[in-house]
């Protein structure tokens, strides 16, 4: 009798775990997509850099990016940029909203992930692994290449800038 009971307890525990694992996996792979991710290459003497990307939320639930970790830096903070009295200033944010069926851009001059106290200098061509923590989607891992400037084909409204950066891209 006890054996049968024990069997069912263990079985229900296993089912619960499988269900959660499926849910977690299903959520991260189906709902949040990251693309155009990159990390800015900075002078070796600099201990600070930034990561940028597009976050697309394919789910029907609003989500929030809560935190980011990487082995490339001791601390990652998320910051926004605003213009105050004609001056650009940064402000830390506790989370970044990504609406249901919507997207959020992290790009130069806007929201960005600040990589603070780089563990070692970033070199063009390196790959940085970032772990993003979302409120609903959970953990999303993404690998971002270290680049000198924005990936080509990224600019939607800046065709002029795109042309000039194209020139730089070939020299990098």
């Amino acid at each position: 009798m006890l054996t049968v009971l024990a069997f069912f307890v263990i079985l229900s525990g296993c089912i619960k775990n499988i269900h959660q694992a499926e849910l977690h996996h299903g959520q991260t792979s189906n709902m949040i997509h990251i693309h155009n991710q990159w990390v800015r290459a900075v002078p070796p003497v600099s201990h600070i850099s930034a990561a940028y990307m597009s976050i697309i939320n394919h789910g029907s639930m609003e989500d929030q990016l809560l935190a980011v970790q990487t082995s490339a830096a001791e601390v990652v903070e998320i910051h926004g940029v605003k213009k105050e009295n004609g001056m650009m200033s940064m402000y830390p944010v506790k989370f970044v909203d990504v609406s249901a069926g919507g997207s959020q851009e992290l790009k130069p001059g806007g929201y960005h992930m600040m990589l603070i106290k780089l563990v070692k200098p970033l070199k063009v061509g390196d790959e940085v692994e970032l772990t993003l923590h979302f409120k609903n989607a959970g953990m999303v891992k993404v690998t971002a290449p270290v680049m000198v400037s924005m990936p080509k084909g990224e600019m939607k409204h800046d065709t002029k800038e795109h042309e000039s950066l194209d020139h730089a891209g070939s020299h990098d």
Binding site: R40, V42, P43, P44, V45, S46, I48, S49, A50, E74, V75, E77, H79, V81, E84, N85, G86, M87, M88, S89, M90, Y91, P92, P108, G109, H112, M114, L115, I116, K117, V148, S149, K160, E161, S164, L165, H167, A168, H171
Partner: protein
């Protein structure tokens, strides 16, 4: 049905004409029919700050070259590296004329930006770029001359403080006179054209 087709054709026609008009006016702005750059009475002027080797460096030593001044700081993770990258693109677009242009990166965070730090940081973006620092008062004076603003921001961050600052590049001609101010994100093409105009006139 008929009306719809005409409407679509009309829209196509208007957009074609509109984009052509834009192209023509853009072409018109290039060096050929460029208007002379204006002078500014009470802006700019010479200055002396500390160069990357710790010695005093005067803006007068760059006479004969077009100078581009950017006020920023090395602890800046986003805006400054972005703008310095844009300036690098400008130098590449200038090709042989790049040797007649001197970019000066003036630190508005002299407490943390030492000459040694600037020496290692600034040339990374382009080998001829020079970083300048100085006393808090000297920097404040130069920034005031050029109309650049900045302030210290203590924020909830491991970094302690950030600097809010004007994100602009100031154009100075070969005689040391202030000739204009540009946003590196939007105005690089115009800045390059204006530099070419200064060099050829």
């Amino acid at each position: 049905m008929y009306v719809q087709k005409i409407l679509i054709l009309f829209i196509l026609l208007v957009s074609t004409v509109f984009s052509n008009v834009q192209e023509i006016s853009a072409a018109g702005n290039s060096a050929g029919s460029q208007k002379p750059l204006r002078f500014y009475e009470n802006r700019g002027g010479d200055f002396e700050l500390t160069g990357p080797d710790g010695k005093e460096l005067s803006s007068e030593s760059f006479r004969g070259k077009v100078i581009l001044i950017y006020f920023g700081y090395t602890f800046c993770p986003d805006v400054c590296p972005m703008s310095l990258s844009h300036l690098k693109v400008g130098m590449l677009n200038l090709k042989e004329q790049a040797k007649d242009v001197q970019v000066l990166f003036i630190s508005i965070d002299p407490e943390r930006d030492t000459p040694e730090k600037l020496k290692e940081y600034v040339p990374y973006f382009y080998p001829t770029f020079i970083g300048l620092t100085g006393s808090v008062n000297d920097i404040a004076e130069v920034a005031r001359q050029y109309g650049a603003g900045y302030f210290k921001q203590y924020v909830e961050s491991v970094e302690g403080y950030f600097m809010a600052h004007t994100d602009a590049v100031f154009l100075v001609d070969q005689q040391g006179r202030y000739r204009g101010r540009y946003k590196t994100k939007w105005d690089m093409d115009k800045l390059v054209a204006d530099i070419q105009w200064l060099i050829s006139n």
